[in-house]
Symmetry: D3
Subunit: 242 residues, 6 copies
């Protein structure tokens, strides 16, 4: 089985980190590729960055040889619905993946993300997925995304402290890490806080494998119908649906 992880930002070190996390999570016989666009923001922090990540994200999906399934490695699940319309195989976002699996092992899960500005995006997603009632709260650790790539920063300490608050003050029974760049922290933090700590990349890879193994494709009726053929102008002309 062949899974393509698309990191929608342009930071190659993060792409490599999610590739490694994906490989560690994947079953035997699954081939993981990870790509990122050449065009777009170096990190996605809020609505504006999100908007500029979408064309690159979709281009990577359509440019690559068809994979059996796709994983979107931005915790905001930006572009998820558009990707479902475009990709030949099923698509799983790392945010939704973690929320769905967390709700199978805990009555209430907390989310610990990077910056305050990502909180409303995540809350909106939780509402849309319907899982908001299972979430004990979304907390920002005030760690910028790229600090997670910098070993000298105190990113890990701040994330851990925020987890402690979510458990104590919000009665979180499990913790979802709210950024693809935190993929390498889950195991240690589970041990430290004695509750399940979920990394969305690993969750999404396993859910993508499951969909493929079960022969479950994205429905082409309604929301995720293939894009209608039409003209796109200017720099996006080549990206028009046929």
């Amino acid at each position: 089985m062949d899974i393509l992880i698309v990191n929608p930002n342009t930071t190659a070190s993060m792409t490599e980190k999610v590739r490694v996390a994906g490989c560690q999570a994947a079953g035997a016989g699954t081939v993981i590729r990870a790509v990122n666009p050449a065009d777009g923001p170096e990190s996605i922090e809020g609505y504006f960055d999100e908007a500029y990540s979408l064309p690159g994200l979709l281009a990577e999906i359509r440019r690559a040889p068809a994979a059996d399934a796709y994983v979107l490695a931005c915790f905001d699940d930006s572009g998820l619905d558009a990707a479902r319309c475009a990709a030949p195989g099923p698509v799983v976002g790392i945010g939704e993946a973690a929320f769905h699996l967390a709700s199978l092992i805990a009555g209430r899960f907390g989310v610990v993300t990077t910056l305050e500005r990502s909180v409303p995006i995540i809350e909106r997603n939780l509402h849309h997925y319907g899982l908001v009632a299972r979430c004990s709260g979304v907390r920002a650790s005030n760690v910028p995304v790229l600090d997670l790539e910098d070993p000298a920063s105190d990113a890990r300490g701040q994330v851990s402290e925020t987890i402690a608050r979510a458990i104590r003050d919000d009665r979180a029974e499990a913790i979802v890490l709210g950024c693809a760049g935190m993929a390498d922290l889950a195991r240690d933090l589970t041990g430290q806080h004695q509750v399940p700590v979920l990394d969305g990349v690993a969750c999404a890879v396993r859910l993508a494998e499951s969909l493929v193994a079960l022969g479950l494709a994205t429905s082409r009726r309604g929301a995720y119908a293939a894009p209608r053929g039409k003209r796109y102008a200017g720099i996006f002309a080549a990206h028009a649906p046929r």
Copy 2:
């Protein structure tokens, strides 16, 4: 990996059917066992049967050698929370499993179950899981559970007709089959109706495998804390938590 499927009714032919469905869905290297209680109803149709299925269901979980994960093969997900408190590994219900995976491949999914009396139970579960907003409706096919075991019945035709209505009248983009006894129908019905048709047993087996592979255990804080030690009287004395 070792997964125990518990069919909470006492009909061995259904247990065998879900075992086969589980084996077909499972990954290489996964060992599927399937059991059913000696005590309880021959089928679960409504709240009353559900109540009498729980002690047998929990007894099977505790009697068996510890598995890596557990699948509850009743679409009503009856006893799911109690099983989570009791089982040494993660527990996945076939109803919730199908709902979660359906929401990854369709904007709205419909549910087609057996009898009218199961509709409110399923609706309540959808509310509790939070996925009700993704469901286009729960429809009864008016097929009793055990008719699904009888090749002479028109069970399959009635299920198919109800699916057609869910697609046409409710704008369902995918269909969840609402009974463990329908596990063998999913593939054919997918081809026939040209939308994804999901069987909960297969979905649950893959989700259970995913949780195990990711090292995700049921949280022991809050809702799913291990049962407190206490005395149980009478015929249940031996089942008391230590």
Copy 3:
């Protein structure tokens, strides 16, 4: 009029306590009987105990001479729906009873229960009944159920302190006591905290009387249809619906 209170745990002293509370609440001419199963947990604290209480609860309902109405004396309202299917007369749970009456005398009511593990069960019930928007919060006093039977414990003090917090921090305008074992505390606590404090046993008895007086029986369409006749195996064989 004849009301049967079923305490679904096996602790006779608690059965006697709810019988006394029921008698004090009942109208002239109402005969209160109170029973508890011989089989099952000595107290119900969480999902696991709940599961083992259901067969005994239903057996008591069916074994007793038909009453005009039934009260289920576990605040989690466990088995309520199954009991409605089985009982010849209307059935009222003490949790729902207190929530419904509290919403007639206060804009928002708080719930004070025993242990943390009961909080999610009560929250789920409030969601199901629809009354969650009227609830200012569910708080655990960290008093195990059987401590309420022990005069030497500080159960009462802890309950009172938790009430004070619910009024001050959650803006509760009335308090629902979240355990059948607190039935004897309501009057004193009302005086002490100067807000209405509701005991579910008393509420349920009066609601049951009301339903009987008004000739209102459980509907036999849909959710609470009488159980379908079928075979039950093993120790439950005698309990099968005809």
Copy 4:
């Protein structure tokens, strides 16, 4: 025990009808009085009539010798919150009363009211009470309120036909009659349609008795605090809270 039923419209024949319904529902030892204002609309059909009914309604409550409890006999529950602030004893609306009791005997109840313009008012109340999820739908029978007082009209037939549709098309398991003027129809319609049919007047009287018997008074914290003393001008000067 002494219960005052206030019919907030000025039609004395309807006041007498609800008095009779109240007496039939009341327990032994309960004295039922029924009054209506001298000032205001002859029937309440929509928001505008409602507004003009409130001063008269409140005046009747304050003019009468204090009762043990109060019943508001308009199905829209108009003025209910204001009445709770003003009345010395608990206050029950006939709409809320029927909704609460219906949710104890049926999974889903339908409401059959008079005119289309009352439907949004009832729907809003159901949302506010939280019981909307238990309601299968609110249907208008297109019978004006005062036609219910006219034996020559086909009011009863139209109500019955609307009930039949609610049962067949909305899967209603019980029916709430959505107008005080339908109080005399409940028993016959129950027999005819073989589902429980609830009249709000009877329900409210029994709930009011229950609150009194249990010593449950309206909370004076928050929403239902007694009105602050202030000046009222003009024709309402004498009605100012002290």
Copy 5:
């Protein structure tokens, strides 16, 4: 264009204050009139005062020469639906106006009102309008309405302090002032707290102008159908709809 602002309480100084606020907000060419009833409470603080303000409010609307649109200058939006049925032009409440505009400029807005007893009324309105999910919380400043008219009171300081708490503790991104009597404070508080602070009177005047300019009238189907002709008795006889 001609807009009639109706202050439903009888305090002329507040009517003048809202008139000034309305004039400042209005576009060139808009004529603002402001009236208050002769009959009713001097301020509206809770459900009871609200009830006594409605006849005067409606009488002012019908007595005045027809305006192009109407603004109801009580933050509780009391009588809004009745006014829509009665007024010849569109009607905007100052509460709803501020909520709708706040949701266009902020992810979450907080509300700062006068007394605790108004909080549940505002919360209910937010639920009804659907905008509750955009509200970070409703806080009382414990300032009685008429203190806002008294320069010697510390009303302004208490409002400002409550705003600070809403921003810090509730993560409010904008603030809605929850009383018509605060209309003159918005500009200063915006500067002081560096978030948008909205006054409902100004918002409602602009929304009313917008509806008129766009030719948008209140729908006469369903909820806001014109009142049915009928008899009103006693002091309200002259107010009966024809």
Copy 6:
């Protein structure tokens, strides 16, 4: 006052149509400019087109001389949140504008849009705005966006027929036209169907004017904080926030 309407698709004739609609709606003294991107889809029909419209949309906002306010002329409100982060003045989407104003003049409004694939996007927006409870349903007329530009098509007839169904079957009290390309149809359809028919372009222009007139700017706390400075790679390098 200066308002910039951005049509996020690249069809100039539609830009001109919305400019004309904007001018007709605008107040005296308001200057309306309308632009569309050079890069992107010729129409926006579903998630995929939406993704490719965002960079062009944001580029137009930042390229133009600062306007006092911005209107996004795609009914899906695509890019609205990103635009709020980027634009120097307040931003109003035509979808949200119509929903908010419709809820001021009708108890329930229906939405009539183009293709089935836009329905879930609009439903999601209604959920996010909180106004879903006020919406009686979203219906597709099965008219592709660009057919609205073709006088030879039967677009108008199909839209009108769909409106008739929304009024009759969904009890819609007002109708929101769900596409910028329908801006010229509102007046005629209002006359024809005798309910208010709202065009989002006109509504948004008036709401934008209102915000400007009231001095209400987008909050810079939380969700709509200005984008953080960072590097964008490739073709988007010049668009990076400073």
